[in-house]
């Protein structure tokens, strides 16, 4: 066995960081979808394209001279949030309670967005560089930006939790999702709650797109690679937005990274999918359908 004890410890730390990072990544790309689906029962097939738009917003802002952190953390969520708001007002609001129709409409929207972005920005790959340097752990170099992604994800989850549990608006939102008739009888318009929720979900998706922009080569069709993973993570999590998201992302991130490390990336990808099948077979209502019931 080549390498000494110290090097193996270094490798273990690097692997651990990588595993945490891929869990964070799954949480990040799924959060917006979890809010929109978990609270409103709308399957947004344009979720990946929302991320893609967030990425483009970031790149445009950076190229226009905006500070990269402002571009990622403020411009991208705002841009996608407003886009989401527009779409909600123009299309989605007519389709609440019609799962199938929202799927068709958002599928159409995803094609529309790909076409529009191609029209505006062309189809060549674009991107920006990560703003954070790599750093060494023992004999290994680690991507510093990955740690930034982890931190952002943690802050984001805490913020969602704080809003849902600690604020008046969070209470109204949860109430409306559970019994919209009661909420409206109490004087809260479900229409407005849905609108704001969709805005929030879109903004989170935009945030994910913005934060990922420096890590990927962006093309108008980039969004398609995220939708399936996000969808699987959200559904496997089950009804509770935060607990479900965290538990399923942890499981899938762990499984896929361990197989990627020990065999190869292809097996890693398949392992994630097989884990999802087994999980749903054993827990047909998702993880939080059985465990952590009633949590958020």
């Amino acid at each position: 066995m080549p390498g000494n004890q110290g090097q193996n410890v270094d490798l273990a730390i690097v692997v651990a960081i990588q595993v945490i990072y891929s869990i964070a990544l799954l949480v990040l790309i799924s959060a917006g979808l979890a809010i929109v689906f978990g609270m409103m029962r709308v399957i947004n097939l344009a979720h990946g394209e929302f991320m893609m738009v967030g990425g483009y917003a970031t790149i445009v802002a950076v190229n226009a001279g905006v500070n990269i952190y402002i571009a990622m953390l403020i411009v991208a969520p705002l841009a996608v949030g407003i886009l989401g708001l527009l779409i909600e007002r123009l299309v989605i609001r007519f389709l609440y309670g019609r799962l199938v129709d929202t799927m068709l409409a958002t599928w159409g929207l995803s094609l529309l967005l790909i076409g529009l972005v191609t029209l505006i920005f062309g189809n060549t790959t674009t991107g920006i560089s990560p703003p954070i340097e790599g750093f060494p752990i023992g004999a290994y170099q680690v991507n510093g930006y990955n740690l930034f992604v982890i931190v952002i994800t943690i802050v984001m989850v805490l913020a969602i939790w704080a809003v849902l549990s600690g604020t008046r608006w969070g209470l109204i939102a949860r109430g409306t999702m559970q019994r919209s008739d009661m909420a409206s009888a109490l004087g809260y318009s479900p229409d407005r709650v849905y609108m704001i929720t969709f805005f929030a979900g879109s903004a989170l998706t935009g945030l994910a797109g913005g934060v990922l922009a420096p890590l990927v080569g962006l093309v108008p069709t980039s969004g398609t690679q995220f939708i399936a993973k996000a969808f699987i993570t959200v559904i496997s999590g089950g009804a509770s937005v935060i607990a479900g998201l965290l538990s399923s992302a942890t499981l899938f991130g762990l499984v896929s990274q361990l197989f990627t490390f020990s065999i190869n990336p292809m097996v890693g990808e398949i392992a994630l999918l097989v884990a999802a099948v087994i999980l749903l077979r054993l827990l047909p209502q998702g993880i939080t359908g059985r465990f952590f019931r009633g949590s958020m």
């Binding site: 692997v15 990072y21 750093f135 890590l215 080569g217 962006l218 490390f261 990336p265 990808e269």
Partner: protein
């Protein structure tokens, strides 16, 4: 003179009929004059980053041909369909081109799967087919002309140069599909011939965009260099993440694919500089043919930044076909085949391209290049490389009826 009502009517109707028919007869005469060039490219959908510049190159080439008086005294007309990155549409439009439009030649197809989807249709109907994209090699069919670079042509230049420059231990990263798998095998062969050694080979599905664990794995293996055949937007993330981890200054890199989609303009100089590649074309080539090409492109489209290897390859394919028509003096099928096999050559933007009569593949110049300030700086040029991979399996002079894609044993 009395004209009976009957004769009056009949002459009248004959006249009207004549008047109606005349434009269509003229139209037909003109149409018969024109040579029809069918084009099948993905100008929307997943692969449009390759298809759109190819479409522009096609239109530029045909404009130039027509401005120069056409071919064999006839103008060239384009019949183009957007295949929308959908394999089923390739088959449909190929049928349409052959049966309804009755085109004289088809240029197009991007992915190997799309080429194999339309090749049988074109072969059966004896419609000449030019496939102008770099690919894994091995197609053996007298009806097709391939003018893209094949792996052996690139790799036999790239690997010895890389081994000489950086050392013996090589880590290969490749896209997990046919092109990547075959290219990886050629890399191994030429690396070993040059005295190198492959420490590991990793394949990645095309949609993988997180390379963190791979970067750690590479560091454990501590190779002298990385050679990559990664493909597409998702895989571009690797170069970003590699540079972001601070690895770029530690382990150098060569690639057979980076730059084909103009990636050198996407990566910053800090991320890209120093990466070694080998292609047929670089916009930096200082030849009269290339300067004329760049100027013509700029005049037609303004922006030359979209030009990439495959677009030029497509442009040269059309030039080759036009030259074949000139040599044959007509578009008669057998005369065209004879022209193709009779020392067909052009002087394109990327240098001289000639067709090897035994394989219908291109003999062309390969340039060893380095990324430098978002440009492809030519280090060394290797003139007239033979398609040795396809030559190993295909001999159309001996088996003119051969019609398949060989898997080349290495």
């Amino acid at each position: 003179m009395t004209i009976s009502r009957r004769t009056f009517l009949s002459t009248g109707s004959a006249l009207t009929l004549g008047a109606l028919a005349a434009p269509s007869i003229i139209g037909k005469a003109l149409a018969a004059e024109k040579i029809k060039l069918g084009s099948l490219l993905d100008t929307s959908g997943l692969f449009d980053a390759y298809g759109k510049p190819m479409d522009m190159a096609l239109r530029l080439a045909v404009d130039q041909i027509n401005a120069g008086g056409g071919l064999a005294g006839r103008e060239v007309d384009i019949v183009a369909y957007d295949t929308q990155s959908d394999m089923a549409l390739y088959t449909q439009y190929a049928q349409q081109l052959v049966r309804k439009d009755k085109v004289d030649v088809v240029h197009g197809g991007i992915l190997s799967a799309s080429r194999e989807a339309i090749r049988p249709t074109l072969h059966k109907s004896k419609t000449l087919y030019f496939y102008n994209v770099l690919y894994e090699g091995g197609v053996c069919d007298r009806n097709i002309v391939v003018d893209g670079v094949t792996p052996a042509q690139q790799v036999e230049v790239l690997m010895p140069a890389a081994v000489k420059k950086w050392g013996k231990k090589i880590y290969i990263l490749a896209a997990d599909y046919n092109y990547g798998q075959i290219t990886a095998r050629w890399m191994k062969k030429y690396a070993e011939e040059a005295g190198g050694e492959i420490v590991s080979t990793d394949f990645f599905p095309l949609d993988v965009s997180d390379f963190g664990s791979t970067i750690a794995k590479i560091q454990s293996a501590a190779p002298d260099m990385i050679v990559s055949a990664l493909v597409g937007g998702a895989h571009l993330s690797f170069y970003r993440q590699w540079a972001a981890a601070g690895m770029k200054s530690k382990i150098p890199m060569a690639s057979t694919t980076l730059g084909v989609g103009n990636e050198h303009k996407v990566l910053t100089p800090e991320e890209g500089d120093g990466i070694l590649v080998a292609y047929n074309y670089s916009p930096e080539l200082q030849t009269p043919a290339n300067e004329a090409f760049l100027k013509a492109w700029a005049d037609k489209y303004g922006d030359t930044s979209l030009i990439h290897e495959i677009a030029v390859s497509h442009y040269q394919g059309i030039q080759l076909w036009a030259q074949a028509v000139r040599n044959a003096g007509s578009i008669d099928y057998m005369k065209m085949i004879e022209a193709i096999e009779g020392g067909l050559a052009i002087d394109g933007p990327a240098g001289k391209v000639s067709i090897d009569p035994k394989t219908h593949h291109a003999v062309l110049d390969v340039h060893l290049m380095e990324f430098s300030g978002q440009k492809l700086k030519v280090i060394e040029s290797f003139s007239q490389r033979q398609p040795v991979d396809t030559q190993a399996v295909c001999d159309l002079a001996a088996n003119p009826d051969d019609n398949q894609q060989y898997e080349i044993k290495i």
